[in-house]
Amino acid sequence: MKTKRSMILVSNDPESIRLGANEIIQHLNESLAAYGLQDEVDVTTVSDINRSNILPLVVVYPEAVVYGPVKISDVRYLVEEHLYKGRIVNDLLAPPKMLTGQIGWLRTHKGYNPAEQRVVLERAGRIDPDNIEEFITSNGYEALGKILSEMTPDQVIDVIEKSGLQGRGGAGFPTGRKWRFVRAAPGEKKYIVCNADESEPGTFKDRIVLEGDPHLTIEAMAIAGYAIGADEGYIYIRGEYGLAYQRLEKAILQAKEFGFLGNNIFGTGFNFNIHVHAGAGAYVCGEETALIESLEGKRGEPRSRPPYPVTNGLWNKPTLVNNVETLANIPPIIRNGADWYRSIGTPSSPGTKVYTIMGNINFSGVIEVPMGITLREVINIYAKGMKPGSTLKLAQTGGSSGSIIPAVLQDTPMDFESFRKAGVSLGSGALLICDQHTCIVDLVKVLLQFFRFESCGKCTPCRIGTQRAYEIVERISQGEGNLEGLDTLLELASEMERASNCGLGQTATVAIRDMLKHFRTEVEAHIRSGNCPTGVCEMTKEAEKV
């Protein structure tokens, strides 16, 4: 099979046909042939695209450039410029449209990178993170000024609640409601803790936010402080993120100098200070009560809940714990309003999501797109397709504790509600894309190795469960497994989910369940015929290797 480098979609709804879509297709094919591109570029049609004012449309992938309205006389020039010379024809671009999760409408702004909708990462990569003035000149600290001068704390919480923002750390808890809990909690002294202990394998979105735009998190924490009645905040950042730590420290000093932190901010009598606290390497500290324990100078062992941090958190005081990405959404929401935020994403999951994409794909990295786009769109557009020779077998969403989803589910919209309905978890936003050479047993073994290593050891179901589960899967990968082992795995999973003290043990089982739900035949092939279908597992014991 020949590989195509580009694909052209032409709208062929009745209106487009009336306006000459069929002739455009004909001219496209002729022009492509004239430039010798007929084997490299596919021309096909697309229907109902809901933009009657700019028909007919021509969409070019993988760049996802939308041209429209296109006239027959434009076709030859478009082929010459875009497909032959590789230059986007700016004059023919369709006018931009506010994004709602329909990727076909994303317009590229520069070169060949597909367009994103950047709210959280708006400034990352565009300003000097060490220079507070660049932050200020791009609307920085405007939201803080606005709430301190025009809004009451309750009004701030109202806006956040109305925006529908949900926690971006993985659980998706409504942010406004959490703020209200902490505001309502009795006590004079309250704390804000920013959870920057991003340790979920495959996730580095918070690092990009902190490294690229450190003041954004600082501004958001001050806003949260005003809203819930706290005068002190901590950023708990994982020890591995040295650069982000330095940038935060510097940003805090600058913010103090400029009067955005400290006492009597903007002359309003509001005081707020932030400390940065580096972790020392422990995945479990991403769990909020373990994080609080660690902040207090103890081993990061999760507490028993209730009581929850909203009433009994840091130093036993009411504490708001929010993820970096969640906080980074706050200043734009305050500046632009809840309605603006709700116009992005899906009705049940407003806003954007920052994804980190990696695996057997052509482009790995970080993207920010509206909630509700599908995995297929991420792979085909943002990841620029699977690597040559690769086809999608499965994707792991949300890091080690996330779901393993088979290729058949790749058209599920990625938002909290759709994923919940499909029984999968969106998690932290890591998307690990795996091809046909990936062995499910080998992958789950790696995931369980992670959990048995990272289990804090405080509670038995998790400490022993992760170890036993690993041993069973390891035996399968060595050709020593048996079918009863699979039943034992599921029993272990139930016990761990029921009895583990925190999310680590409760979600370590997701990979086991997904493996047996979607890929049981492949697992059984290891057991029944002693054969790893992908040839990844060595099928010999470590000790027997020569």
């Binding site: 394998p201 580095f204 020392a280 390497g281 995945y283 100078g297 790995s364």
Partner: protein, 165 residues
């Protein structure tokens, strides 16, 4: 982590770490991290020193050595055992594994004749696995001391390690 730092006075290192991070409970982990950074691990003597120097009945500040050891043994970036002059940390998580991590791990073990957690007899290298370092877009990833290497291939291993004395 050069050889000369081994001769550093533990008491002085502890003192400067405490001055920097404060005589408070929430300073304990940063203090231990600082000590670990200087020596490559937290020596037993340092636990005694930290306890002694933090002891302050007036402020009700008491820390037991066992408490400090509990921290140092819990957190992955702290070590209670001496390590080589250079520590190689290899990410063993799924994102690096999927893009060829195992071949790198095998090449590292073969090149250094080490298994996970071991140190070479000349105390030059310690090889350990680590959990995700957040550099997943350039996997497979390894860390030599504080230097990061991404998109590593097995052929590059000897070239990378050559840079270190």
């Amino acid at each position: 982590m050069s050889a000369s730092t081994i001769d550093l006075d533990v008491a002085a290192v502890v003192q400067s770490a405490i001055e920097k991070h404060g005589k408070k409970h929430d300073g304990l982990i940063p203090i231990l991290s600082e000590i670990n950074h200087v020596f490559g691990y937290v020596p037993g003597e340092a636990f005694r020193e930290v306890r002694k120097q933090l002891h302050d009945p007036a402020e009700q500040m008491y820390v037991a050595e066992s408490q400090l050891y509990a921290l140092a043994s819990f957190y992955d970036m702290l070590s209670t055992k001496p390590r080589g002059r250079h520590v190689i940390k290899f990410c063993e998580n799924a994102p690096c594994h999927i893009v060829g991590g195992k071949a790198i791990w095998d090449a590292l073990r073969e090149h250094l004749s080490l298994n996970n957690g071991e140190t070479t007899p000349d105390a030059k290298w310690t090889l350990v696995t680590t959990s995700c370092l957040g550099l997943c877009s350039v996997g497979p990833v390894l860390l030599v001391d504080d230097d990061m290497y991404g998109n590593v291939t097995p052929e590059q291993i000897s070239g990378i390690l050559e840079h270190y004395e």
